[in-house]
């Protein structure tokens, strides 16, 4: 497969050329070494060091700022207690150690989205260290080490005036996001493929959403990922030249960018070239990573301890108190549901993908047969939620309404098609399914004598189909069942109709 290699000339212009078409064999000679850094905004009400609202999306520019997050002289930051607790909760979910002493540091650099000229972050004494996350990639278990989870503040956002970046004469700065609590999760370079990297992110995001610390929105940037990628000859322990990839804002982009970068590096190495340690940005439209030529000195951050913030001494009693607030995590929950309700591993994974889905399933499975609940949630309800863009727990019908509907179905009060029609009708508007069934007489026709009269009428009116069935054509029965269902307005129980027809035609 040929692919594009991007080269940046001395004039900074980007050119593309086709690499040697031996990419796949080049890739197979090397092993990828990938480590991910995730930045996740915490779902606090207020910012990290001041009382401005942490909700900034859709707000008028600079309407969400105060002297602290504007970086005005003489102000003092104060640590948000909830942000610390969320970070510790995350660290515990990722099996990290929580040291009893931690502090904040200043990371110094100049950029217009950083009004203080430094970011308050954590350098040598982060809130946590040495954790791990386990998951499966194509059926094989993977354990990725977690170097650290620490707490810092987000920057503001920059908008470029003018349509084209290159022609922009000025940049516009909005500091609404500046100071929003930001958690950084640094992973060990334990991932060996683009698939493993994507799966790590999917699982990590799922955990953050389960424990309620982050909303997992890659597009809006509340969950962001940078990757460090290098290649080494298979079987070797040596580390190759590391390239940092930025600007991947979907799971698909992460996968494509890493795949591209692995192939690009393999082609360079296979061609006898050497790689440059650099930062490259993923350009979605071009399907390529492009050198950002960031200057070396930009990484000279001159960290020093933040003099305005007293350190944190979080004892084991504190950590244990936070640990007790930990909800059941997705992997454990999937395992438990598998055992408790006899679900397949696949079904259990689907039903526990989001905490709200798992809650819905458990509530339903305690009221109707577990298999029935699973089939409806993964089938009609999932399709409807997707089509109408409303999750079940936020719909008018809600989990309780669905439970009421499925109880009617399970008791034989209504049949499957009626249940499906009611689901579609009541999904957004809500309502009591039992009352609607009663009011409109949607109850299943289970009076055998009444149904028998209709069956006889249908047989008389469809003599040809009846004759076909008697002659051994099974398919003809379906046509007759359909006619009976139509005559009863869909209220008959299909199995009962089936039996009565067979008896009459015997």
């Amino acid at each position: 497969m040929a692919h594009l290699a991007i080269a940046v000339g001395g004039d900074g212009r980007v050119s593309a050329q086709t690499a040697e078409p031996q990419t796949n064999s080049a890739v197979s000679a090397y092993e990828a070494v990938i480590g991910l850094e995730v930045h996740a905004q915490l779902l606090t009400r207020s910012k990290m060091f001041c009382a401005c609202s942490a909700e900034y999306i859709g707000k008028p520019a600079n309407s969400n700022t105060c002297p602290v997050c504007l970086g005005l002289p003489g102000v003092l930051p104060v640590i948000n207690r909830q942000a610390v607790e969320y970070t510790v909760l995350t660290a515990l979910a990722l099996n990290c150690e929580i040291p009893e002493f931690t502090k904040f540091d200043r990371k110094n650099y100049f950029y217009p989205d950083l009004p203080k000229g430094y970011q308050i972050s954590q350098y040598d004494m982060p809130l946590s260290r040495n954790g791990w996350l386990e998951f499966e990639v194509e059926g094989a278990p993977v354990r990725c080490g977690i170097t650290r989870v620490h707490l810092e503040e987000d920057t503001g956002t920059l908008h470029h005036a003018g349509d084209v970046l290159q022609s922009a004469r000025s940049s516009l700065v909005d500091l609404n996001r500046a100071g929003v609590p930001l958690m950084e999760i640094v992973g060990e370079p334990d991932l060996r493929s683009a698939e493993a990297a994507r799966e790590y992110l999917v699982r990590l995001r799922q955990i953050l959403m389960y424990i309620g610390v982050n909303d997992g929105n890659l597009e809006q940037g509340s969950f962001r990922c940078d990757a460090n990628v290098s290649l080494r000859v298979r079987g070797s322990d040596a580390l190759g030249t590391k390239v940092e990839i930025k600007n991947m804002n979907s799971f698909r982009a992460v996968h494509r960018a890493l795949q591209y970068e692995i192939e690009r590096q393999a082609a360079v190495l296979a061609g006898g070239g050497t790689l440059v340690q650099e930062t490259r940005g993923w350009v979605e439209a071009r399907g390529a990573t492009v050198s950002q030529r960031s200057k070396e000195y930009a990484h000279d951050y001159r960290y020093f301890p933040e003099p305005d913030l007293p350190p944190l001494a979080l004892d084991s009693a504190y950590t244990e108190r936070v640990r007790r607030t930990m909800p059941e995590l997705p992997a454990a929950r999937a395992q438990r549901l598998q055992e408790k309700f006899g679900l397949s591993a696949y079904d259990a994974a689907v039903l526990t993908a989001a905490r709200e889905d798992a809650d819905a399933y458990e509530a339903l499975a305690s009221q109707v047969p577990a298999k029935l609940a699973a089939n409806w949630l993964m089938g009609d309800v999932a399709a409807l939620a997707n089509e109408r863009r409303v999750a079940l727990h936020r719909s008018g019908l809600g989990v309780d309404g669905l439970a009421a509907l499925l109880r009617l179905l399970d008791a034989g009060t209504i049949n499957g098609p009626t249940a499906k029609a009611l689901l579609e009708e009541l999904y957004e508007s809500g309502g009591d399914p039992a009352a609607v069934v009663q009011e409109r007489g949607l109850g299943q026709l289970d009076d055998e004598a009444a149904l028998l009269a209709i069956v006889d009428e249908v047989i008389a009116a469809n003599a040809a189909a009846a004759a076909d069935f008697r002659a051994g054509k099974e398919a003809a029965l379906g046509r007759l069942v359909g006619q009976v269902m139509k005559a009863t307005g869909g209220k008959a129980q299909p199995q009962l109709v089936n039996r009565l027809l067979r008896e009459r035609l015997a």
Binding site: R45, S46, A51, C52, S53, A54, P60, A61, N62, S63, T65, C66, P67, L70, L72, V78, I79, N80, R81, Q82, A83, V84, N108, Y109, F110, Y111, P112, D113, L114, T155, H159, H160, A161, L165, R169, S170, S171, L172, V173, D174, T279, G281, Q292, R293, S294, K295, Y297, A298, H299, D300, R302, F304, P305, E306, P307, P310, P311, L312, A313, L314
Partner: protein, 100 residues
């Protein structure tokens, strides 16, 4: 200790200071005096003193997660050299100019 011209230029860039040759020389020698002073301090035996960045002995000073009032944006922008449509305006920044 001698500070190279490259060191001075590097620190000037980090501090966003545009220095000409004469200024670099003058400031470089002043910086050197400061570094010599620090070097002298580093000769003091501090092996029995634990590292500290704080002298107030305070720990765990935190606030509850309650959102309060922000400044009206006109006030927030009041000190800006230039603003437009509620934004601070700065010279054009290319995304790849400096690593954020």
């Amino acid at each position: 200790m001698t500070l190279s011209a490259a060191d001075v230029a590097h620190v000037a860039v980090l501090a966003r200071l545009g220095l000409d040759g004469a200024e670099r020389e003058r400031i470089g020698s002043q910086l050197e005096v400061i570094l010599e002073h620090i070097a002298r301090l580093q000769q003091v035996d501090t092996s029995s003193v634990s590292e500290t960045a704080q002298v107030g002995e305070l720990v765990n000073v935190m606030r509850d997660d309650v959102d309060g009032e922000s400044l009206p944006s006109a006030v927030a922008l009041g000190g800006a050299a230039a603003s437009d449509g509620g934004y601070f305006v700065v010279g054009a920044i290319q995304d790849n100019e400096l690593d954020g």
